[in-house]
Structure formats: structure tokens, C-alpha cells
């Protein structure tokens, strides 16, 4: 008999979303979303822009 699957990790409490809408000078709408509580996690470390690599050098022929 196989072991029962591990219990799922608990779901952290969901933050409350609020939306603040501003009209830009050219008439377009911009919405700022805020969350309560604020995200306590520090932002992930990102490589500097110059070292980022999205995608790869690609072959020239269609395939």
C-alpha cells in the first residue's frame, strides 16, 4: 500500500486589493493597484540588465 500523499501546504491569507484610478493628461486611464498587507517578501535578486538573456541566438532558416 502506498503512502498517502503529503498534506497540501496551507494557503496564506489573501491580501485585500484596492484600485486607485487616475486620468492621464491625454485622457487615458491608469489604475494603481495596492494590496493590504503590503508584500513583505523582499524582491528577488535580478541580474543586471546587461547580463539578461531572454531567448537565444536563433538559426536564420525557417524550420
Amino acid at each position: 500500500m502506498s503512502a498517502p500523499p503529503p498534506a497540501p501546504a496551507p494557503v496564506p491569507p489573501e491580501p485585500t486589493l484596492t484600485r486607485q484610478v487616475v486620468i492621464k493628461p491625454d485622457g487615458r486611464r491608469i489604475a494603481f493597484y495596492h494590496f493590504e498587507p503590503a508584500d513583505a517578501e523582499p524582491p528577488p535578486a535580478s541580474p543586471p540588465e546587461g547580463s539578461r538573456h531572454v531567448g537565444a541566438a536563433l538559426e536564420s532558416a525557417a524550420g
Binding site: 494557503v11 524582491p43 535580478s46 531572454v54 524550420g63
Partner: protein
């Protein structure tokens, strides 16, 4: 100039949007229009020095709430309509050099909450028949801005590929009383070879019929028709599995993988769609680290996809990457 022109050969609308030719193309990081406006620096689209998540109307929209009148006169063969709708940009973070895969599960959950809010608000508008949330990532897909962001198109019609999927789902529902995607999910779970990752609420797999080597479908175990129908637990599990899947994609070839990410939901035209199941579709163009799948003669001219791989071979590799290998 922006208008809808009817294609009688395919029975679908083409959107013209000539102003988009002028849009910002791969600016240097110092002049990214999606970064916050720093003191003393140039004014970006977002007039604050920091923000969490921001959504704004696209400066170069294909669809507009108050569109101009068509520039040409339509007729019975070639109907023409104003390009009414909404095009929004969703900026995931104020940090330029990151990707959704690199963000925390908590931040991804907050993005899901924003998607839910946008779907509810845009879908409630009388002129909006379909709210389409998506992300184009990577130059291989054709992105013009690297700052992590997605888009929302609120169409005044149901787009043709989505309409075709709805027709198939409705046929299956009428014939069996079951939702088609639920049966696809059950078959993928029964077989098991093409499953990439899963949790309590969602399963991701490269479908039996995949058109691209690493195309995946992300499907909820429970039939819900729209992102507004998930409960808080399901939203967290969706954020968790998105983190797992996108991290796995980035491990696949050892670089941040370009993709199209598409959310598929019920239309918002006021009709009933009991046969719809929310799902997300990921379409990475890479077939190897340095080769792309092009939509060439058979795909673009005839609409018949040729996949150079089989999902039973590609899914284990992506599964290993999602598991951390």
C-alpha cells in the same frame, strides 16, 4: 486609423491599427516607458517613483472605447465597423530587470487578483464580448518592451480561434453532458505521460494534440468558467503552479524562455456558457535552445500545424525541469 474590416473568406474580423507602427521599439533600459518615473528622470507612462501593479490604457491601442469612424465605407461583401473595445497594459512590477518566473508566489497571486478585477470590470461593459488576458514574452515573440508586463484586449466580438473552441466544447456538451476540457484533463490524467506538474487544484500538461514542442495547457481540476469564479485557495494554487511551470520553462534550455501566455475564459456577451472551463495556454516558440518553430507554409497558409516532436517525449523533459532538475 483603426477599424474592423470583415474577411468574407474566413468569416472573421481583421483589426486595422495603423498608429501602432509608431510604437516604442526596444528602448534602452534608461528610457523604458513602463518603469516608474524617477525624480529628475524622463516621464514614463507611470507618473510615480514606485508602484506595486499598474494597469493603463495602451497608448497605441488596436481597440478604443470611443473609436474613430471607419475611414472606408463598408458594403455587403466588405462590412466595416468601428474598432470599439479596450486595450490595456498590465505592468507586473516597478522593477525592470525581472520576469514573472522570477517573482514570488505572493506577487503572482496579486497579479491574479488584478486579472480578476480587470475581467470583472471590462466584462461588465455592454460593448465587450470577450476579455482576453495575455503576455507576450521575449523578442522571439515580437515584444517591443522588456519590462515585465502583459496585456488585455477587450474585444467587441468573440475572436475566431476562441469561437472555434467554444463550438467544439458546445458540441461535446450537447452530445455527452460533460465539458470537453474536463474530459481532456481526465484522459491526460489517465495516461499520465504528458503531465508536466500538478497540485491540489490545477494540472499542467503538454496535450496529446500539441502543435508546439513545449506547448502546455494549465487546467483547473474543478470546472469554473472564469477567473472570477475561483476561491481564495484556488487562486493561491494557481499562483503556485504558475511559479513552478514558468521556472521549469526557464530551466529547459538554460535561459529565460520566450512564450505567449493566454488566459481562456467564458465570453462576456451575456450568453450562457455552461460548457466552458477556464484554462491557460503557454506557447513557447523554441523547439530547441537555438531553433524556433516558425509558422510557415502549412501552418500559416493551410492552418495545419506540423509538430517536429511528440509530447510523450517533450513532457518528461519539461516535467524534470519543473521538479527542479
Amino acid at each position: 486609423m483603426s477599424e474592423l474590416r470583415w474577411n468574407p473568406l474566413l468569416g472573421e474580423w481583421t483589426i486595422t491599427a495603423t498608429r501602432r507602427q509608431e510604437r516604442t521599439f526596444l528602448p534602452p533600459a534608461d528610457y523604458c516607458p513602463l518603469c516608474p518615473t524617477r525624480p529628475g528622470a524622463f516621464e514614463t507612462e507611470i507618473p510615480t517613483p514606485a508602484f506595486d501593479i499598474v494597469v493603463f490604457e495602451n497608448r497605441f491601442p488596436s481597440l478604443q472605447a470611443s473609436p474613430p469612424s471607419p475611414t472606408v465605407e463598408g458594403n455587403d461583401l466588405y462590412p466595416v465597423r468601428p474598432a470599439q473595445g479596450v486595450c490595456e497594459v498590465v505592468v507586473y512590477t516597478d522593477r525592470h530587470a525581472t520576469t514573472l518566473a522570477e517573482e514570488s508566489v505572493e506577487r503572482i497571486r496579486r497579479l491574479i487578483l488584478v486579472w480578476r478585477d480587470r475581467f470583472a470590470e471590462l466584462g461588465a461593459r455592454d460593448e465587450v464580448a470577450y476579455v482576453y488576458i495575455f503576455e507576450n514574452k521575449g523578442e522571439a515573440i515580437g515584444v517591443t518592451l522588456h519590462h515585465p508586463h502583459g496585456q488585455i484586449y477587450a474585444y467587441p466580438f468573440i475572436p475566431p480561434r476562441i469561437a472555434r473552441k467554444l463550438t467544439q466544447a458546445q458540441r461535446h456538451w450537447n452530445a455527452t453532458g460533460r465539458d470537453l476540457l474536463g474530459d481532456v484533463l481526465a484522459e491526460e490524467q489517465r495516461d499520465g505521460r504528458r503531465i508536466v506538474c500538478e497540485n491540489e487544484a490545477f494540472v499542467a500538461f503538454i496535450p496529446f494534440f500539441a502543435r508546439l514542442p513545449y506547448e502546455t495547457l494549465l487546467v483547473p481540476r474543478r470546472q469554473v468558467a472564469a477567473i472570477t469564479d475561483f476561491d481564495a485557495g484556488e487562486r493561491w494554487r494557481l499562483a503556485e503552479i504558475l511559479k513552478t511551470l514558468l521556472t521549469g520553462y526557464d530551466r529547459l534550455f538554460g535561459f529565460s524562455l520566450p512564450y505567449i501566455m493566454a488566459l481562456h475564459q467564458r465570453p462576456t456577451d451575456g450568453e450562457d456558457y455552461p460548457y466552458v472551463r477556464f484554462h491557460m495556454e503557454f506557447l513557447p516558440p523554441h523547439r530547441t535552445a537555438d531553433k524556433l518553430k516558425y509558422l510557415a507554409g502549412s501552418e500559416s497558409g493551410a492552418g495545419a500545424f506540423i509538430n517536429d516532436t511528440i509530447p510523450e517525449a517533450t513532457a518528461p523533459r519539461l516535467r524534470d525541469c519543473c521538479a527542479g532538475g
